[in-house]
């Protein structure tokens, strides 16, 4: 009798775990996909992928994609799309180069001016989308052409550079080791330990609160494994970085922005309202949400982040070229969709978009190290994007 009862309880427990897994397959799947891809390339590149110098490069190479993916996720959650970000990024980079190199404007003035230009570009596009209800696809397609043309015009078809050292630091600088040891870089290690501890501590705190409110939570085993992987990976990466040149400035920028936007989308009323507006714009409007203003703001924010990405990209190349940012919007959008956002809006997470961008980045990097041609790289990236979305749709159909 007790046997059957405990069996039933075990069966229940197993069912709830598998049920939990099924409903959160996307979240875990993404994390494991990233790990699997990294392990794969680590093996086939004979350990080159995770060398300290390559890890540093991975961050430098992908920083601008990740920064724009943050904004793109919000635009897509709001039910729109922005095709102009690659061109805007190129345009702002060109503007910075012309200002600093040709007009001798100080760097400290150029950077805020360029960010303001990004905001204005976002506002100009968002205005038509939000208040005139012109499809964002069309408005931003137009923007893509316009700003591509304007970068060419601004640069007069030439590359402009190089930048002064102070501007380059934006991208290629490293946080100096405050402890003065140098190698291993104690600052990087310390940041890694603090960040890992913070992630685990916040996870535990949320878990405790959920328990207090009787909210169902992920099974303990899952919680432990997931946190162990995330904290472990973080410490590993930081250790590797510390044995090279320490924390890249961009990584810090990226990390802080990711935390800010994750907080904004998940914890604040404005974030909640953007999800509501993307999920059902009519219902959101009838619930008193200023849907037009919010849509407008998502594009303003996107413009700001595209401008920041433009500065970082130009700083990394140490020159502004007319081709900068070409087709980058596609990588950004792909990262967001690989990260689990839905084309119809209302669904998607910041962390997902960041992981999606890393998946793309690691694949680019790994395939390049392997010497795979750019032709095959494109094909493989395309298939990965398709597979990720098919996986989403299949999952949803199975649940529904």
């Amino acid at each position: 009798m007790t046997d059957t009862a405990s069996q039933a309880r075990n069966a229940d427990k197993a069912k709830s775990i598998s049920g939990y897994l099924a409903s959160h397959l996307r979240d875990y799947g993404l994390l494991f996909a990233l790990i699997a891809i990294m392990v794969f390339f680590q093996i086939v590149t004979d350990g080159t992928l995770l060398r300290p110098v390559n890890i540093t490069n991975l961050f430098l190479q992908n920083s601008y994609i990740i920064i724009m993916a943050l904004g793109m996720l919000i635009v897509i959650v709001g039910g729109h799309i922005d095709l102009s970000v690659g061109s805007v990024m190129g345009f702002v980079g060109a503007l910075a180069a012309v200002m600093i190199v040709n007009w001798n404007v100080p760097v400290a003035l150029t950077i805020p001016a360029c960010l303001v230009v990004g905001i204005l570009i976002g506002a100009a596009q968002g205005y038509w989308v939000a208040y005139w209800k012109i499809p964002s696809f069309i408005v931003t397609l137009a923007g893509m052409l316009v700003f591509r043309g304007l970068s060419l015009w601004l640069l007069e078809g030439q590359s402009v550079g190089p930048f002064p050292r102070s501007f380059q630091l934006l991208s290629t600088g490293f946080i100096p080791d405050v402890f003065g040891v140098g190698r291993p870089n104690i600052t990087a290690l310390a940041v890694g330990i603090v960040a890992a501890a913070a992630i685990v501590w916040m996870g535990l705190r949320k878990r405790a609160r959920n328990k207090a409110y009787g909210i169902e939570d992920e099974p303990t085993a899952f919680f432990l494994i997931r946190n162990a992987i995330v904290a472990g990976a973080l410490l590993f990466v930081m250790y590797k970085l510390s044995t090279f040149r320490g924390l890249p400035n961009v990584l810090v920028t990226m990390g802080i922005l990711t935390i800010i936007y994750a907080f904004l989308t998940e914890q604040t009323t404005i974030g909640r309202r953007i999800y509501a507006l993307g999920g059902n714009v009519k219902a959101a409007k009838l619930s008193g949400i200023p849907t037009e203003r919010l849509t407008f703001l998502t594009f303003v924010n996107m413009g700001l982040l595209a401008a920041l990405a433009g500065l970082i990209f130009a700083a990394r190349l140490n020159t502004a070229t007319p081709k900068a940012g070409f087709a980058v919007e596609l990588d950004v959008i792909a990262a967001v969709f690989i990260g689990g956002a839905s084309m119809s809006g209302g669904v998607g997470k910041i962390v997902g978009a960041v992981v999606g961008a890393f998946i793309m980045g690691v694949m680019n990097n790994g395939m390049s190290i392997m010497g795979i041609g750019i032709d095959y790289q494109q094909v493989i990236k395309g298939l990965v994007l398709l597979a990720a979305v098919i996986f989403d749709v299949y999952n949803k159909q199975k649940q529904g």
Binding site: R209, A212, Y213, I215, E216, Q267, T268, T269, I270, R272, R273, Y275, A276, G279, N280, K282, A283, A284, K285, L286, S287, G288, I289, P290, G346, V347
Partner: protein, 506 residues
């Protein structure tokens, strides 16, 4: 005279509902046959069975057409035999020309190549037949609704119609357009076309119909022959509503308190057709603790009235005043209307009321995030507490408040919408068809919730197409027709017959 169509013992069940129960309909060749009944009586379902929208095998009973046992697998089958149905929502492609619309799916073409010359020639002939003086190349959305209706009829004629079915053909038409349409139907009759007309407008029915079949609750009540004896509208109304009030409504002490909401001289124009007035000079009030109903047929303008009041969500050139407890309130935006103490529970909860892919919790707090947040940061634990409170109070049946609302039944979804608006803390709730599409048990629970609101001194304005529901729940009922209030009845005076006759006599 010969029988063209006979539908025998038609029974059609949807999961959980018997929409048609042993319905019989007999249509004689060359007559105009009117089909009347309340909203939801089963008229449209019956016509969908006939035209093959519900294919053979999904219903019980027999259809005899032109002396032969028939049964259609789809619309194209019934159209082949000349049965053409024109739905209430017109099925025209707005951006194509009249000529293109007339022959859509039936093009004058050889090997896939359209013969435009032939198309235009035939279009001109058909337009002449229906008396529409427009060039065949005119784009359909440049025409008014009345003319579009004529295009639909011309389209039916192009398919060699023998039995023409019109579902509420005059519902959206002006008086003169309606007259023209009725004349056309009489003319088509003279040319030998048999018609079935579904209508709520009994004066029109009396004018054109040879035979009238009344359907109520999915069953045939009577078939009246207007050629033998004149049929009075009273007679038809009695058959339409003549059911006894078998549903039960929870009891509530009726007491009207202080004046709460007062709306004066409310006028609204159509958002796209600037010349069309949708709401005309409406005045009404709701007292504290009062449940006030708005009765009317579909298209009377009830939802438009509610939405125009709620943050000008519908219409343009809105004028009039809204007062709450004697003070003018701001209803210029939805947010302002909510702050002023109004809430509007929409008719279409899936399209307008809920974010289906979000959790119950997130839907409940959506209209009042301020109360679960501090300087813009949401306290999710507090939010869960709120959701749990409403889950218990409303008896929302769900394993958890984190469940997506898309997974809930209609009744439970409606309770989530109600929770959302109660959490917004309104003084007056406008409920638009609050029990549409939900089962009897959940209806009873919702009535209970409405009564509790009234006991708390809130005002409830309830729009419903189910008259027994209004009669069972309301202290007062306004009767609305074509954008105006045409009568006001107290609970004591109100009856289905009186409401119906206020609507149909103008």
């Amino acid at each position: 005279m010969q029988t063209l169509l006979e539908m025998r013992n038609i029974t059609k069940t949807f999961p959980g509902v018997k929409a048609l129960d042993d319905v019989n309909l007999k249509v004689t060749e060359g007559e105009i046959h009117a089909l009347v009944g309340e909203n939801g009586a089963g008229k449209s379902t019956l016509m969908k069975v006939l035209s093959g929208v519900y294919p053979k095998g999904t219903y019980d009973g027999e259809i005899h057409y032109d002396g032969q046992l028939a049964g259609f697998a789809g619309i194209s089958d019934s159209e082949k035999l000349g049965i053409i149905i024109i739905h209430q929502e017109l099925a025209l492609v707005p951006l194509l020309s009249i000529a293109e619309n007339l022959f859509i799916g039936n093009e004058c073409a050889k090997a896939g190549v359209v013969n435009w010359h032939e198309t235009f020639r035939r279009t001109e002939g058909l337009l002449k037949k229906v008396g529409l003086n427009e060039p065949p190349a005119a784009q359909v959305d440049s025409l008014g609704v009345g003319k579009q209706q004529l295009v639909e009829i011309a389209k039916a004629l192009s398919k060699d119609v023998r039995l023409l079915i019109l579902d509420e053909p005059t519902a959206a038409l002006s008086e003169s357009d309606s007259q023209a349409l009725l004349d056309l139907l009489l003319e088509l009759k003279a040319q030998g076309v048999t018609s079935i007309v579904i209508s709520h407008k009994l004066n029109e029915v009396r004018r054109i119909a040879d035979t009238i079949t009344v359907i109520r609750d999915g069953a045939t009540v009577s078939t009246l022959d207007a050629r033998k004896e004149p049929i009075t509208e009273d007679r038809i109304v009695r058959d339409m509503v003549g059911r006894d009030m078998s549903q039960r409504y929870p009891e509530r002490p009726r007491r009207a308190g202080d004046m709460l909401l007062e709306v004066r001289d409310w006028n609204v124009w159509h958002p796209e057709h600037a010349a069309r007035q949708v709401i005309r000079d409406i005045n009404f009030h709701v007292r504290a603790g009062e449940v006030v109903g708005i009765a009317g047929l579909m298209g009377a303008g009830r939802t438009e009235l509610a939405m125009s009041l709620f943050g000008k969500s519908y219409g343009r050139n809105i004028s009039g005043s809204v007062e709450l407890r004697g003070k003018a309130i701001d209803t210029s935006t939805v947010a302002a209307a909510i702050r002023s103490g109004l809430a509007y529970v929409t008719e279409d909860r899936k399209e307008l009321g809920l974010i289906l892919e979000e959790s119950i919790q997130r839907n409940v707090t959506l209209a009042n995030l301020i109360d679960v947040s501090k300087s813009g940061v949401i306290n999710e634990a507090e939010e869960t507490k709120v959701a749990e409170r409403y889950r218990a109070a409303m008896n929302i049946r769900t394993p958890s408040v984190f469940q997506k609302v898309v997974n809930l039944s209609g009744g439970n979804q409606q309770k989530v919408v109600l929770s959302k608006w109660l959490f917004a803390g309104p003084e007056v709730l406008i409920l638009d068809e609050p029990t549409r599409g939900i089962d009897v048990g959940a209806k009873f629970e919702i009535y209970g919730i409405i009564n509790e609101l009234s006991a708390e001194g809130k005002g409830v304005l309830m729009i419903s197409s189910e008259m027994p529901e209004l009669l069972g729940m309301c202290d007062r009922i306004y009767v609305m027709n074509q954008g105006s209030f045409v009568g006001e009845l107290s609970a004591v005076e109100a009856s289905q017959e009186r409401i119906m006759s206020l609507i149909v006599t103008e």
